[in-house]
């Protein structure tokens, strides 16, 4: 179901009226409305989705209950044990059982995700001429709810919080409709209580939600859906000598498109959730103002980064073997290498998985490895950078250095976008080569002329206005200003004017774009 449709508007109106109406009438049970709305949303998007979300929900819900059950049994058995050794043995026995359950959960759920996501690509790696397909369309939000449910399983395994005993409530956590299209990847301890709480309608919160939805719509429809025409025009048919200038412009537009599409969509879903009083995890924090690639990944797709940190990076880095290796390195190569190198390996592993999460195609893997390697190299060479800064008397606290770091990071990120956007390895090598050796700025306009006609040029002007608008908002937010918080307190006429401008821009964008789907939809 498209967000920009009468059906979705009616769906939201009905859900909101029911949600706050039930809250007012009964003072409880609002979460049931959210669950019904989420299941209805799934049904609108295809009943087949129920099967997959059902298997994940049931298996992980049972798995978490099993952990609690084993913990209880273990505690009871240990209380009856007489010796310390016997207690340890009992604990080991139950830990083994829990591990087996955990392993089963991981294999089952990552197995389903991997089969659906990667089977076709992997089979084609092995047998390029085969016509075999897995024959399953990617179920709605499978990557997001799988990661979300795995985080729940691991957290309950570690005893971070008690498992949810009510299956319907747990199902709501997994299937909450605003998050299923493209995330964010929410955590149970941050989201669940909000979903189950009873609340009344808050005008100020609703205003803020509408602003967030409008801001997201502006990014998605006014910028992304128009700019994508140029990006596709440039990269869908890369020839042996496409001018490097066109490649660079294409990549810069892709950077805009990718951010506007993904963060715009996230803003919209955060706004929808906020209308129900639910604050989901933020996924973006002005990523193009990052001062390093590591910083970028703390600001871009934040919930995926945090998931990888908590469930891959730390578990890997804290493995006894890795710890021992670190100590060994410290003795042989010094403190910096001993501390940094294991983390570098963990980072490379994390970004390999991030690439794989995006797809099994080689360009995604390359993109992931590129990010991991750059971050690893940057960490390893930190002492060298420090020495250089000192030798050159660089004021690392100064504004100029800050801007330099932002520009440097922006360039590094955009090099990464080459791997992400240019799917064909041959085209990728052509684009890199021509960016360096065949830049030909004089051929930029003729090259763009093939892609941009006068109609699209008008659309790009609208997109440019939208981009300036987003840039100004981003600068203000980067300076710590709560822009939305300030706007909701504006006088009604001023707010009305702002709403009108956004509505007119978003509606007018459909003169040029076609309201394409979200980049991360059905991921």
């Amino acid at each position: 179901m498209q967000f920009y449709s009468l059906a979705f508007v009616l769906f939201m109106v009905v859900a909101l009226v029911a949600y706050y109406g039930i809250g007012r009438l009964f003072g409880k049970g609002q979460w049931v409305v959210l669950l019904a709305a989420s299941l209805a949303f799934y049904a609108f998007c295809g009943w087949q989705n129920f099967v997959f979300v059902g298997v994940t929900s049931v298996s992980t819900w049972i798995g978490a209950l099993a952990f609690a059950h084993f913990d209880g049994q273990s505690k009871e058995a240990r209380s009856q044990a007489e010796s310390r050794d016997e207690k340890k043995a009992i604990k080991r026995r139950f830990v083994r059982k829990k591990r087996l359950v955990l392993l089963a959960m991981l294999v089952l759920n990552f197995g389903i995700l991997s089969y659906i996501k990667y089977a076709d690509v992997l089979v084609r790696y092995v047998m390029p001429d085969t016509t075999w397909t897995a024959g399953i369309l990617l179920p709605l939000g499978i990557s997001f709810y799988t990661f979300q449910s795995i985080s729940y399983v691991v957290d309950t395994y570690n005893g971070k919080y008690a498992p949810e005993r009510n299956f319907a409530k747990y199902l709501l956590f997994i299937s909450f409709f605003p998050q299923v299209i493209q995330g964010p990847i929410n955590r149970f301890d941050a989201l669940a209580e909000q979903l189950y709480a009873t609340r009344s309608f808050d005008v100020r919160n609703a205003r803020r939600a509408l602003l967030q939805i409008g801001y997201g719509a502006l990014k998605k429809y006014v910028i992304a859906d128009i700019v994508v025409w140029v990006v596709d025009g440039i990269f869908d048919n890369v020839g042996p000598g496409i001018p490097g200038s066109a490649v660079v412009v294409g990549i810069l537009l892709y950077a805009i498109y990718q951010y506007a599409d993904f963060s715009g969509g996230i803003d919209m879903v955060l706004g929808f959730a906020r209308l129900f009083g639910v604050q989901m995890a933020d996924n973006f924090r002005q990523p193009y103002f990052s001062v390093s690639l590591a910083d970028f990944w703390r600001r871009w797709h934040i919930t995926l980064g945090a998931w990888m940190r908590d469930y891959v990076f730390y578990p890997f880095a804290l493995l006894p073997a890795v710890q021992r290796w670190g100590k060994w390195l410290t003795r042989r190569c010094g403190k910096h290498i001993g501390r940094t190198l294991p983390a570098c390996v963990a980072n490379i592993l994390v970004f390999f998985l991030v690439g794989l999460w995006h797809g099994a195609e080689s360009h995604f893997i390359l993109w992931g490895l590129y990010n991991g390697l750059v971050i690893a190299a940057s960490d390893l060479l930190t002492p060298l950078w420090d020495k250089m800064n000192k030798a050159l008397h660089v004021n690392v606290e100064g504004k100029a250095h800050h801007v330099f770091c932002i520009v440097r990071t922006f360039i590094i990120v955009n090099i990464g976008w080459y791997f992400d956007r240019i799917v064909d390895p041959n085209a990728l090598s052509i684009c890199f080569r021509n960016t360096v050796f065949n830049f030909h700025p004089e051929l930029l306009m003729p090259a763009l002329g093939r892609v941009v006609d006068s109609h699209l040029a008008m659309g790009l002007m609208l997109a440019a206005i939208g981009t300036v608008f987003v840039f100004i908002i981003s600068v203000l937010k980067e300076r710590g200003i709560d822009v939305a918080g300030a706007i909701v307190d504006w006088p009604a006429p001023a707010r009305g004017l702002l709403y009108a401008v956004v509505v007119l821009m978003v509606a007018s964008s459909f003169m040029f774009g076609m309201g394409s789907g979200f980049m991360y939809a059905n991921f």
Binding site: A7, G241, N438, P493, V501
Partner: protein
């Protein structure tokens, strides 16, 4: 008054004010951008001036420019009105028909079949301008009845067009340089037909809802649009159901129903290929099973109607001359049908029609700049029995020179002597012909040694749907 009550009133007032500003702004934008005297406005304004009608013509722009009511009236002494408008959806036609049947003693309904109007999600903004103009003269309950019919389209409800209903300029608007004149005409009371003639350069209103252009399509232009660019979709079941509703409504009211397929230029018909036969099968079967008469002028034999290039204003619409000839042909066929009850002998199959085309209908030329030079590839639309031959020419600044003379080879590699802008052209004619060319097309190519573009040049019309990202 308590502080809470004051706060509530303040909040409600704030919402009302903000909402009012949004509504005023949207209406102001629509006022400024939606053309004064849109064709829909012309149709509804002129319709309301009609005292009595007995024949109504409905459909999209194809039909709006194909049937002259005056010709029909001259032969049958009827009172006809052409209510067809650009992008009129089948559901809109139904709603309009219901209105006309309620207010006039209608005997005949002629509905123009436009296959693209039966595709899913083709129209940019269904039910916007046409319905907005209708509602200007309707009571609120009538609007509600119309909406309740149109909103039953589930797919439409799920699409962006359902929201853009509120923003009519998304579908139809004036250019940035025309906004001031547009506003002036709306303010100074310029008659809608005059405003329409001003906004639509070259369009002339002839009366009874009918207007047309006199221009003839340039078959040798640098770029041309065709159904190839629009893409061909299977017909949407909901749209066929709406068409069935139209037939049923006519049956219920005892009205004769004629479904007429207006002709399109040969090259457009050729590009529709196998889709055309399938579309015909579905729609003809539906119309005839509901008791209607189906007349497809694309498949008419020359004794009834012979399509000529001079009859068309663009890649699918007829001009004034073409519509006059077609209207006569339509009248003659209906007369014969009324006397004999069967006119099927005057039509042929799609394959027979295409086989009968003995000329080059249009030329296409694409290029790809490679490290070897400029690769040119030509193609053309023509009859199945015609063997085309191609001549490639290049103009590097001193006029066109032949770089590959006439042959059946449709490709040519041109190696430019230097970097620069080159005009490339292809002439196409039938094999065995000695004319200089039947059709040609041309465009410019920027060439730089060692840095060619890989994307083939294509005749890409405005508004072609783009792709979303690579994910």
């Amino acid at each position: 008054m308590t502080a809470t009550a004051r706060k509530t009133i303040h909040s409600i007032l704030g919402i009302v004010v903000a909402l009012a500003i949004v509504i005023v702004s949207v209406n102001a934008a629509a006022f400024a951008l939606c053309p004064a005297g849109s064709k829909s406005e012309v149709v509804w304004t002129e319709y309301r001036n009609q005292e009595s009608l007995d024949t109504i013509v409905l459909g999209t722009s194809l039909m709006a420019r194909s049937l002259d009511p005056e010709v029909v009236d001259n032969h049958f002494a009827t009172h006809s009105f052409n209510m067809s408008t650009p992008s009129q959806s089948v559901s809109e036609s139904y709603v309009a028909l219901r209105e006309v049947l309620d207010n006039h003693d209608i005997k005949h309904v002629v509905y123009g079949i436009d296959f693209s109007a039966l595709w899913p999600e083709y129209w940019g903004n269904v039910a916007s301008v046409f319905m907005a103009e209708k509602w200007k003269g309707d009571a609120p309950w009538q609007r509600f009845e119309d909406m309740s019919y149109i909103l039953t389209d589930y797919e439409w409800m799920l699409g962006a067009t359902s929201i853009n209903w509120a923003f009519p300029w998304v579908q139809q608007r004036v250019g940035p340089g025309e906004v001031a004149d547009n506003v002036r005409m709306k303010l100074d009371g310029t008659p809608v037909t005059k405003a329409a003639e001003y906004v639509e350069d070259g369009w002339i209103y002839h009366g009874q809802g009918y207007g047309n252009y006199n221009a003839v399509f340039d078959y040798n232009a640098d770029h041309h649009k065709s159904y190839r660019h629009l893409g061909m979709s299977p017909l949407k079941e909901e749209n066929l159901n709406y068409l069935a509703d139209i037939c049923d409504l006519c049956n219920q009211r005892g009205v004769e129903f004629v479904a007429m397929v207006p002709p399109v230029p040969d090259f457009t018909l050729i590009t529709m290929k196998d889709h055309y036969a399938e579309y015909t099968r579905q729609v003809k079967e539906l119309v005839e099973s509901h008791g209607g008469l189906y007349l497809d002028f694309n498949l008419a034999k020359p004794d009834v109607f012979e399509s000529r290039e001079s009859y068309f204003q663009d890649f699918e619409h007829m001009n004034y001359e073409g519509a006059a000839v077609l209207s006569d042909a339509f009248v003659e066929l209906v007369k014969e049908y009324e006397s004999t009850g069967d006119v099927s002998a005057h039509f042929m199959s799609y394959d027979e029609r295409i086989a009968g085309i003995d000329h080059i209908a249009i030329a296409d030329l694409t290029d790809k700049v490679t490290e070897s030079g400029i690769e040119l590839h030509a193609s053309c639309a023509t009859g199945t029995n015609v063997i085309p031959e191609y001549q490639f020419l290049v103009d590097s600044g001193s006029g066109y020179e032949v770089v590959q003379d006439y042959s059946t080879s449709d490709s040519c590699l041109y190696v430019p002597p230097a970097n620069g802008e080159y005009k490339v052209r292809v002439n196409i004619r039938k094999q065995g012909s000695d004319v200089e060319f039947e059709k040609h097309t041309q465009h410019s190519v920027a060439y730089a040694a060692g840095s060619p573009h890989g994307k083939p040049h294509e005749n890409r019309p405005h508004g072609e749907p783009g792709q979303s990202g690579n994910r």
